[in-house]
């Protein structure tokens, strides 16, 4: 029963839809607003005023459709994607509704697969509706917009966004299989989305303090840190040029691998830990060490301007930061265990 499973189940799929449709409809409305509706508003302005004055507004919308054109609005879409994906499993754990589903005639693999399938289908539907609406708006204003956008740009945008959100869904669901509730799942996902970029910055910053290196030296000696940052999922949302277009097979492979990892983790989840911070005891040790080290590096880097460059002050910052990080982790684990 606890095997990896790829069987579609109408009941499970329907349940996911009925449970999450509010969030997806809100996401759809948001995406429609920042894409086709914004374009229509821009065109209305162009008609009411003139194209030159409306063009900057239209350009902002059109830029969002280009690879690497993500802006703050797209960042909100990214966060919304994480939250929606995380609640697919996290809310079931937090509310313990997962227990009555586990007692029903489904394998765990089947439960995971249908959640993933629903999430993917919903993201595809949201982007497909957006792409079709954009195509209609462009077609209706082709005389003006043909100069700035082609239909294949919309198709390209649809494909890259679907691939990106498939990767995001897999990435988030892996952390949902490690975390015992939706909040922990969202926090872990966001932290690890930014982790390769963030940790590289922290290590560089601390290396500069400890070894008294300049920016140039750090860049020279520690350029290997860029590899992780370049490959991180987060960077793809804001990648320049054609990176996204050229690396989509890698992203698809990334999604598939993480899907399998997530399903395997769910099959092995000790369900008595639903509602807690983490689903696996050994990971608590990893979290303690990880947060302690990151808090040390953060404290070392953040308070540097205030200590006059004293070695003793640096050690003190590390100690205080580490102690704080350890305490935060311990408290979070202990509190979630009481609720679990």
């Amino acid at each position: 029963m606890n095997r990896v499973d790829f069987a579609f189940h109408g009941g499970l799929f329907w349940k996911e839809w009925h449970k999450s449709k509010g969030m997806f409809l809100a996401f759809l409305a948001y995406m429609l607003y920042i894409h086709p509706i914004s374009l229509v508003l821009g065109m209305n302005r162009a008609v009411a005023e003139d194209l030159d004055r409306a063009y900057p507004f239209i350009r902002v919308v059109l830029r969002r459709l280009q690879p690497g054109g993500a802006d703050g609005w797209a960042l909100i879409a990214l966060i919304a994607g994480v939250v929606i994906s995380a609640q697919l499993m996290g809310e079931e754990r937090r509310g313990r509704t997962i227990e009555f589903v586990l007692a029903m005639p489904f394998s765990r693999g089947q439960m995971f697969f249908n959640k993933y399938l629903f999430g993917l289908a919903s993201f595809v539907a949201v982007y497909l509706i957006n792409a079709l609406s954009l195509a209609v708006v462009v077609a209706a204003n082709y005389g003006v917009l043909a100069e700035y956008i082609e239909f294949y740009t919309i198709a390209q945008w649809l494909w890259t966004q679907v691939v990106l959100f498939a990767a995001l869904l897999s990435f988030t669901l892996v952390f949902s299989m490690i975390a015992g509730n939706s909040i922990a799942s969202i926090v872990l996902t966001v932290v690890f989305l930014a982790f390769p970029v963030g940790i590289a910055g922290l290590i560089r910053d601390n290396a500069m303090i400890i070894f008294n290196w300049s920016w140039g030296e750090v860049a020279e000696y520690m350029n290997f840190l860029d590899v992780g940052a370049d490959l991180s999922l987060f960077s793809y949302f804001f990648a320049d040029g054609d990176i996204l277009l050229s690396r989509w097979p890698f992203l698809l492979l990334f999604s598939a691998v993480l899907f399998l990892v997530g399903q395997r983790l769910f099959v092995r989840n000790p369900m008595e830990r639903n509602g807690e911070l983490l689903m696996f005891y050994p990971l608590e040790r990893v979290l303690r060490v990880g947060v302690t080290v990151c808090a040390m590096l953060l404290a070392g880097s953040f308070f540097r301007p205030y200590d006059g460059g004293l070695t003793l002050a640096l050690i003190a910052r590390y100690l205080v930061g580490g102690a704080f990080g350890y305490w935060v982790t311990e408290t979070a684990i202990a509190r979630s265990r009481a609720k679990g």
Partner: protein, 290 residues
Amino acid sequence: MLKIENLHKAFDTTDVLRGVDLQLSEGTILGILGPNGMGKTTLLKCVVGILEPDRGKITWEGMNLLTSVEAKYCVGYVGEQRNYYPRFRVEDLVRFYRMSYPNWDHEQYRRLQGIFELPSEQRIANLSRGMKAQLAFLLNLSIMPDLLILDEPTSGLDPAVRKEVLRVMVDQTAACGTTMLVSSNNAGELERICDAVAFIRDGEIALQGPLEELRRRFAAVHVIFDGEMPAEIADCCDLLYVERLGRMYALVGRRPLLSRLQAVDTVYLEPVDTSLEDIYIYYMEGPNHE
């Protein structure tokens, strides 16, 4: 037949179930009694697949309940918490169950809805604890289960609904031959509906058997000795409980206690009925338990 063999489950380093063995014939109702935190709920959750045991085997009619999805088509579960999706309406859950259980019987559902009178359009969040319990029964009896697992099924119910629920459980077994495994802290309630009971203590089955057989194995007596209680009775390993009321002793013990008492001088000796609650309390908490 439900067969549980050598079931082990630990939470981190704490052993909750330590080699549970249990057998349950078709069409019988087996009650599980035990102190809080001794593994009753864990055992039931392992049977229905919510928790995965560390070791052991659970079979229903020869099918492995831990590995076969098909085996669970005819297994219902009424948990203690009854955590359903709060934004769902009753009719949504009914739809989900209909889509998930091939044996769903809508006629049975309508019949039971007539008994419980749950409004279909009501949201789960607006249902009381008692109504949620009724909904759990409604759903799990409508899947026409051959095996029904119930964890504290009547907790939080008012007396009238509790009576109705117990009646429905007995009717279901009588009419459809449904086998039931019921965990409860209410020995009196289990005594009314169960054919057999098992006591669980420290993650192990301490005692199990048909209810009548258990009653025959234990005896409660009121006795007045000619003088003090003889040492061969006081030290007897069959004696589980002693209470002194003036000159009279209320004793509870295993059946051989009666013949031992008949062999000593007594002024007054009267066997009294042993309830399941007596057996449970004196067996589980008495000084001479096995």
